[in-house]
Amino acid sequence: MYKIKIDAFEGPMDLLLHLINRLEIDIYDIPMAEITEQYVGYIHAMKELELDVASEYLVMAATLLAIKSKMLLPKHEEESHEDEGDGIGYEEDPRDELVEKLLEYRKFKNAANEFKVLEEERNLVFTKPPSDLSEFSQPGEVVRMDLNISLYDMLGAFQKLLRRQKLQKPLFTKVARQEMSIEKRMDEIVADLRVFGGRKTFYELFPIPDKEHIVVTFLAVLELMKLNEIFVDQEGNFSEIFVAAKDGVEAVGSY
């Protein structure tokens, strides 16, 4: 019963980095057979699921296979001499270019994560639009010069305006909560209890943790008791209070 949410990969490099990370592979010594198998398996799976595999992913698969087969080629003789020690030679490793690219990409991927954090922090800061200073300016003189602006300046100012947080007037007019009347809440409670067809605990009548809602609900319950529309039932002092609608009380039975 679990749900899975997956962030899309940003391309073959991103997928490769993920595989390297997940398999806990040393990026400087990538086991080509293993990573190629994993990568190709992933591509197959995507195809089986009838997803469009972007061509970049296929190009990377080909690259991986090429590197893998290069590494399977027998080494030159001189190399095996140089290599005797710990296997580090000066000859070119077929993986070099790929590793370099992965490292380069990873730098910017990390930077993108840092940008994300900066973006979130910036959203915590609020500014105010420039005040209208017309009272301080002299009207009149037509000057059509001395401008040093570009379209970008204009568009940039506009984007800034769009991002600028606006005072949320609707919140306060809307949330005047005129609709939350006691009568309406009374109807809701009775309807709710009837549908439920049995008794509910008192606390279940307060599903919304909002002060006003709680107060209105409480008053509605009192009103309903007075009108004899509901039963309130408590087994003993300090025990749970139960509430039921007056009609359809079979399930309660005690009255």
Partner: protein, 193 residues
Amino acid sequence: MEVINWKSILEAMLFAAGDEGLSLKQVSAVLDITDMQAVDIVESLMAEYEDDSRGIHLIEMAGVYQLATKKEHSDYLKRLVETPGAHGLSQAALETLAIIAYKQPITRAEIEEIRGVKTERPLSTLVSKVLVKEVGRAEGSGRAYLYGTTKEFLDYFGLNSLEELPPLSENGEESYEQEEADLFFGKFRDTIE
């Protein structure tokens, strides 16, 4: 345990509200306190602002509290208005110009609706620089002036016509990139859910 610094929060709220100000109701609703408590906090902040070291103060106008610059600094604000920024156009003027360019013909009231602030001065700056002009009158009772861009505006930005203005991104532009990604994985998710 932390002590809530109500005055500090109130100052931030008033600042963000800018020229629109805040009603007592808004203050008490956001701070989740009673109106009485809100009055206390407002008044105590008000008193603090009266100190000479402060350049702004807290005033009440028509039941709305707002921060405003103190009168005694008006000479400097006048000079500020006269001191051109780096561009020769203020951000306010640039914003206004962008709105007119993309939404013309448009009335001042409509511009102010978008900007959320009075726009008299930026507008008159733009008119005086001949980037913008009155192009007609709106229908309806007020018959307010409608503004549009000028030929000089096109010349200035090297445009042949308004169609050459770059497309405007008004939010939600991100969604289509997301769509792509969703396409990629959406089906997969369907199969496992």
